[in-house]
């Protein structure tokens, strides 16, 4: 209880930041990278995409774009599971959800590092 008590604001802030990033930025990226480019409505050449993603500021942007909403997911998913009645497993659920988000953050850093 003591640890939950002090860590909740931390996870909530990450959740709120991630929710804001997701709300502001994700729809456009989803439209472009998930639909428009694969379907050929528009094209972004490999060279241009690489030049873009290689820019340090863009990397920072991509990091926020990908990593923060993972915490938004972790927070909401944790409570979905609890709301569906898995209240007996609260601690393991919290560890799994936030743990997955941390892993995702590390993976994001690694991918961006390679570009």
């Amino acid at each position: 209880m003591a640890t939950r008590k002090t860590s909740e604001p931390f996870w909530w802030l990450l959740f709120a930041a991630g929710g804001m990033v997701a709300a502001l930025l994700v729809p456009v990226h989803l439209l472009v990278h998930g639909l428009a480019v694969p379907l050929g409505w528009t094209s972004i050449s490999h060279a241009r995409m690489l030049a873009l993603a290689g820019h340090p500021l863009v990397k920072l942007y991509l990091f926020a774009l990908i990593a923060l909403p993972l915490y938004h997911w972790a927070h909401r998913f944790r409570f979905i599971l609890e709301d569906l009645g898995l209240r007996g497993l609260r601690t393991p659920i919290a560890i799994l959800c936030y743990g997955a988000a941390v892993l995702g953050t590390v993976a994001t850093l690694w991918v961006l590092w390679q570009i």
Binding site: E8, P9, W12, A16, R76, F79, E82, D83
Partner: protein, 249 residues
């Protein structure tokens, strides 16, 4: 001409006899100006005097007549039969609370939570009566007025799935009331209420389903109070991380 009637399906529960609540149907006369509470009173006076339920003011002020009407928490003194035609109307005790008998639920848990948030004006030092009142500008009143309209009817608790799943959750009305006093320019009790709110079963338990604010008969918007308390708590926490030396509010 036969008199128009309406059917009420009322939950009955006799402690010591029934293992579970059951439903009993009553047919009552239909009147355009009758509310569900009138129909219950008719049943108690004319049909079955053993039916138990709470009420007092009959005008949406005392907050004691809350029940589930067709599955939605309502003040039965403000729920008109005419809005539920042709019926039948399902009348059940407020959801999420232990049932004592028929439509009467146990209040102890809510009362204890109310006390815990210290819903009164706290001063570091009381000023002597001879110094006069604590004055407040209209804007300072506006800041908390909405949250002071609560009549403790507990409809918000009945609407809250989180409370249903986790009875330890402090819950909408209690948090809204804590927030109301925290916002009051005359109050200095923030630090005393904060530990209660910032517990895991305090504001952080809430997932912002938002139904509490939908069912509240007084427009209190407890959901807003809870989210704003989270924001305040998280900001406090962040400041204490960045500047541990600075005294918190």
């Amino acid at each position: 001409m036969t008199e128009e009637t309406m059917t009420l399906e009322v939950t009955r529960y006799r402690p010591g006899h029934d293992r579970e609540p059951r439903t009993q149907s009553f047919t009552v006369p239909y009147r355009t100006d009758w509310v569900v509470l009138d129909a219950l009173n008719h049943i108690k006076d004319r049909i079955d005097g053993t039916l138990s339920y709470r009420w007092s003011c009959r005008m949406g002020v005392c907050g004691s007549c809350g029940m589930m009407v067709n599955g939605v928490p309502k003040l039965t003194c403000a729920a008109f039969l005419r809005d539920y035609r042709p019926g039948p109307i399902r009348v059940e005790p407020l959801a999420n609370f232990p049932v004592i008998r028929d439509l009467v639920i146990a209040l102890d848990d809510f009362m204890e939570k109310l006390r815990r948030v210290k819903p009164w004006i706290i001063r570091a030092v009381e000023k002597p009566v001879s110094d006069g009142e604590y004055l407040q500008t209209p804007a300072q009143l506006d800041a908390y007025k909405q949250f002071s309209m609560c009549i403790n009817c507990m409809l918000c608790y009945a609407a809250c799935p989180v409370y249903g799943l986790e009875p330890a959750f402090l819950g909408p009305a209690a948090i809204a009331l804590a927030y109301r006093y925290n916002l009051d320019s005359r109050d200095e009790g923030y630090r005393l209420r904060e530990p209660v709110l910032s517990e895991a079963v305090g504001v952080w338990e809430c997932t912002f389903v938002g139904e509490c604010s939908v069912v509240c008969p007084k427009g209190v918007d407890p959901a807003a109070a809870i989210q704003r308390s989270k924001l305040a708590g998280a900001t406090d926490w962040l400041l204490s991380m960045i500047m541990p030396w600075a005294g918190r509010r």
